[in-house]
């Protein structure tokens, strides 16, 4: 799933923003499970964009009984192969510069820029290639894995 530039914002802190490298500097939920508290489902994880003194950081919160999360930051021209195991969830967040996310085996590819968020999930494993444009690029890749057998979902 690819969400462009605040077209939609998960979570309760849905304050309209113009982009992480622009003026508004309030925390913003990028992806969360459940996507909404309207249906009474238990919270499992959330990925939030948080302002720092010099830019932005991506914060990962999980219910550790159910979800294990890791966070990796890639910079400047890096080419990264991202493998998502069956049932895992990945959240890719560009915080500076541009990055190309592509299906390693297919034609699907999209440029990401600050403000966008890409979420990958599913019971089938997948391989992605992430290419950061040269310059001051920075992308955070969040990997979430279930501690039990159930596959993770953005929409549970």
């Amino acid at each position: 799933m690819l969400v462009r530039e605040h077209a939609d914002q998960a979570g309760a802190d849905a304050t309209p923003l113009d982009g992480p490298d622009q003026q508004e500097r309030a925390p913003r939920t990028l992806a969360a499970c459940p996507d909404s508290d309207d249906r009474g489902e238990a919270w499992r994880w959330s990925v939030t964009l948080v302002p720092e003194d010099q830019g932005w950081t991506v914060q990962v919160d999980t219910d550790e009984k159910h979800v294990r999360g890791t966070r990796t930051v890639h910079r400047d021209g890096a080419v990264v192969d991202v493998s998502r195991a069956s049932g895992d969830e990945i959240v890719i967040v560009p915080t500076a510069g541009q990055a190309l996310v592509a299906d390693a085996t297919g034609p699907w590819r999209r440029w990401l820029r600050p403000g966008d968020v890409f979420v990958g999930e599913g019971e089938t494993a997948e391989d992605l290639r992430l290419t950061l444009a040269p310059g001051q690029g920075e992308v955070t890749v969040v990997s979430l894995s279930p501690t039990g057998s159930a596959a993770l979902r953005w929409v549970p």
Partner: protein, 354 residues
């Protein structure tokens, strides 16, 4: 609650004539008619005099005349004639709605007239493109508009509800890619190496395996384009047999909707028999949807408030669209609240005694 600052399909062009046509959009009763110069008009369907429906009247010299006491209103909604007197009361006017007509669709803007931008009306050009052949239907659905949006954003229902027409078991076996940009939610599914669906295969004249695809592009709050088709395995989509299904979803009220449907194809476009077969077959598809959603609407009305949908992975687009719709409603409500200050005193001029 409805998003009112939006274009909604009110009719097909050929339905609007000099005879008044009644429509209800977002609980707003409207009367539509066509002036002598060909312009379509939409007015509130309620005479300012005694609330009689203007749609029960007649059109006289580009004005609509109330069938009860003969008040007449021009296309701007201003009363032009009161038969029983020469003076026209100041408040004798009805609301006029912006109308946009293109490619055979008549759209009405239900919100603030000053915000009605013709450029924001959805793309329907396939209806007029000589390279495409089109079949249309319009069907009243006994369900809320949200259920039709959900239906179009989760096409796995084709495997079960439309088994003999556009359905195949393999649909739900393939994942989706959801993209959200601005007020558009897209749900794309690629189904590589499969047979064409039964309803289309005969018209396409195809056998064997293809890459099938469908991408629902929902332009909130009222219009979906389904970009669908088959192409050679591993080949670009644009090389294939292409279908554009245009869906105008117009809420009537909280429990009923109008469904305006156009199916355009870029193959066998001169084959009139194929067009007729598709017209009949697609009517079946819509009937299947209409009946299923009628039953679902009943289920929704009977469901306790604390019981909620159990959404699954295939519902990601549904969830995103619902959230966007909620945001649009909140934004409109906030704008309305901001523009209507409470208790503002009315300006009055005091008249001094002589």
């Amino acid at each position: 609650m409805y998003v009112l600052n939006a274009w909604y399909v009110a009719a097909w062009s050929n339905e609007i004539t000099s005879a008044p046509v009644k429509r209800t959009i977002c609980e707003l009763p409207l009367v539509l008619y066509r002036r002598k110069d060909g312009t379509a008009v939409a007015l509130a369907d309620r005479c300012a005099h005694r609330a009689f429906p203007l749609s029960s009247g007649r059109v006289v010299d580009d004005s609509i005349e109330c069938g009860y006491h003969g008040f007449a209103y021009g296309s701007d909604g201003v009363c032009t004639r009161v038969p029983a007197q020469t003076t026209i009361p100041e408040r004798a006017r009805v609301r006029s709605f912006p109308v946009l007509e293109k490619d055979g669709w008549v759209w009405v803007w239900t919100g603030e007239a000053s915000e009605a931008d013709p450029a924001s009306a959805p793309d329907t050009h396939w209806m007029n493109d000589p390279g495409w052949a089109t079949v249309t239907h319009s069907v009243p659905f006994a369900c809320r508009a949200e259920l039709i949006h959900d239906n179009l954003l989760d096409l796995t229902h084709e495997s079960f509800l439309h088994q003999t027409t556009v359905g195949d078991d393999y649909i739900y076996e393939h994942g989706i890619t959801v993209e959200v940009e601005g007020d558009v939610v897209s749900v794309d599914r690629l189904m590589p190496g499969v047979e064409a669906p039964p309803l289309y295969a005969q018209t396409m004249g195809t056998t064997g395996l293809y890459d099938r695809f469908h991408c629902t592009e929902f332009r909130l709050p009222s219009y979906h384009v389904l970009h669908s088709g088959i192409t050679g395995q591993g080949r670009p989509r644009e090389e294939g047999y292409l279908i554009k299904v245009l869906n105008g979803i117009t809420p009537i009220d909280a429990h009923t909707s109008w469904y305006y449907y156009a199916f355009s194809r870029n193959f066998a476009i001169d084959d009139t028999a194929a067009t007729e077969d598709l017209r009949v077959g697609l009517a079946t598809v819509l009937e299947e949807d209409a009946e299923a959603l009628r039953l679902q609407e009943i289920g929704m009305q009977q469901r306790p408030d604390d019981e909620h949908d159990v959404l699954i992975a295939q519902d990601a687009g549904v969830a995103k669209a619902r959230r966007l719709m909620t945001q649009m409603l909140r934004k409109e409500a906030a704008a309305k609240a901001a523009s209507s200050p409470e208790g503002a005193p009315r300006a009055r001029r005091a008249v001094a005694n002589a």
